[in-house]
Assembly symmetry: C2
Homo-oligomer: 360 residues x 2
């Protein structure tokens, strides 16, 4: 599939040379990679959606927007969830639909408060399936401390859906003094990951393909707003937060590097890849840096605060495995490189699409 192909030479030292590896106009139809959160998704946004909507708030399309509304600083975000299968080790569509949107809000430093849920049901799906997903959604909302405030249900004919799709939108309040966004990364920032990576993607793949890797790997799906609050209690001056979902850590770091015009340098040996994930990725020819997570965040923290923020993260259940993985540098602006164990470096580029379609 299209999103498995990698661009031949997209990563160059000068971001001005970044080109879309598969120009939209050469490709008249939607391919799976357009939903993968990588270069094809970015291209669709830049060439189709942004010109169509054309307004300044859209700069952060795909993240939560922060709006000044009635005297409040409101974070607002949405995601559709089309994960296949609906149930997987560690969670289901219902959890994802809450945690994914809550985490998008939390990545702007917001305290999420309310969600909307819109279900697109396929005619013929068992009501018990809908009920299990709704209950998981309700439980996840309670665990994340948000209320489901409003909703909608539509039904489409058999063959025009896939059981259940859920779209959630969320709102939350951004505390005064907090200004967290990709553009704020600065050379010298310490890059921290909140725990082991790759679990969600490998969990989905294992159940979807019927693969076993000796040990059941469960998705890391979890709400991260509590962890973010613990970090903000140390300092409101966090520069960037991001949850590396579709496209994995590689996509998130590339987006931050591009948005801020800085470089990111990772230490390969510091990246927390669980053995089971490493084994599965080796077997399948995947790079763990590109595998989706649903309960992890990456933070760019000013160096003077890094140690205290790391300690606060490790004291929180969702950040117990937090670790420094690299730093933000002035060299190679817009690029992400990894210092390998052998003393060399390799470039980590923006994936074209997602290695695994319908991961969330």
């Amino acid at each position: 599939m299209a999103e498995l192909a990698r661009p031949a030479a997209t990563a160059t030292a000068d971001p001005a040379n970044w080109t879309c590896p598969a120009p939209l106009r050469d490709q008249p139809v939607v391919v799976m990679g357009h939903g993968g959160g990588g270069a094809l998704s970015a291209e669709l946004i830049e060439q189709v959606f942004t010109p169509a909507y054309g307004n300044p708030v859209l700069a952060g399309l795909g993240d939560s927007a922060v709006l000044d509304l009635g005297g409040a600083r409101l974070a607002f975000s949405t995601d559709s969830y089309v994960v296949r299968p609906l149930f997987f080790p560690g969670g289901c569509l219902g959890d994802l639909a809450v945690n994914g949107t809550v985490n998008d809000l939390a990545m702007s430093g917001a305290v999420p408060t309310h969600l909307s849920t819109a279900f697109i049901l396929e005619e013929g799906v068992e009501l018990t399936v809908v009920e299990r997903i709704a209950r998981a959604l309700g439980a996840a909302a309670e665990a994340a401390g948000v209320l489901v405030a409003t909703g909608d249900t539509k039904v489409v004919e058999t063959g025009h859906g896939d059981g259940v799709y859920v779209t959630t939108a969320g709102v939350g309040l951004v505390p005064d003094g907090v200004d967290i966004r990709p553009q704020r990364a600065r050379p010298g920032d310490v890059v921290i990951v909140s725990g082991p990576i790759g679990l969600h993607g490998v969990a989905i793949m294992s159940v979807r393909e019927g693969l076993e890797f000796g040990i059941e790997i469960a998705s890391d799906t979890a709400p991260l707003a509590g962890l973010v609050a613990a970090m903000l209690a140390v300092t409101p001056d966090l520069h960037v937060l991001r949850d590396p979902t579709r496209g994995g850590l590689a996509a998130s770091l590339n987006e931050i590097a591009r948005a801020s015009g800085t470089g990111v340098r990772l230490q390969e040996r510091a990246i927390p890849v669980p053995e089971a994930v490493a084994n599965a990725c080796g077997f399948l020819g995947l790079d763990p840096l590109f595998v989706a997570n649903e309960g992890r965040l990456v933070a760019f923290v000013p160096r003077p605060h890094a140690e205290a923020v790391l300690a606060a993260m490790r004291a929180h259940p969702q950040g117990a495995g937090a670790t420094v993985v690299g730093e933000c540098v002035a060299e190679h602006p817009g690029m992400v490189v990894v210092a390998t164990g052998l003393g060399g470096t390799r470039v980590v580029d923006l994936p074209l699409g997602e290695q695994l379609p319908r991961i969330c």
Copy 2:
């Protein structure tokens, strides 16, 4: 299809006797009618979603919720749009996805400000189709005075979608002193409809079924927030506003009657049914009261303000055809009746589903 069947005896004088005509437990799978906005939809909400989420804000599930957030009164609403075909006389999926959600917000008296958009694209759909819909969405947002603030795109395999589905969520601010909700209908309220009914449903049906009714009938899809603002300028004390979409005027009035414990009495001859709609409905065996609208509202206005509100509506482009269609009464609580041209009355019950699936 299931939603074409009508319950044998659902309308009784005592709302306590209202029963679900097709108990969920006797029906193990989702049917088209569960998305029709009628009794089956209500049953799904009451038996599946509400127990799963269990929280007080949910009382208004399906409408916009009004939240106290950071000192602001925030209206919050969502809808998925799965209309078939994507383009129809008078509009397309993109317009609907804006106007439907903007109107849901306006029905709480809110001034809509921002939308989120989440696209679920089917692999293989032409990018020009996506682009046309996005441009219509952008134009409709501009016309409605709202900004598209954030978004998401997912892609599903061919055979698991239908070209394009869009889910929008919206936020807006409710002015101080405004408290508009179905529970506030009171005997004596004057019931006003903002213009001719049935146009959206008949427009969709004509293009979907290839029927011609002598004259092209265009959807009434339009944003109603400006009209609501004009009404609120007369008095903040409007009791109920509702846009009669799925299930038509019949569904909206039944929901208001049930929520408020009052009765609604319509004058058949006063209901503005365009001749073309009447002809089409006659031909197809439909009741115009059950046909969807996408640019109309029904208002319950305290009698002392009714004349001035009606004048303000008629002075607004979206309310030029506004007319009094009936009143709210103490008799037959929870029921909607129509006084017919022959001097009798008939009961208008809550539809089981929508006469026409995927109308919006």
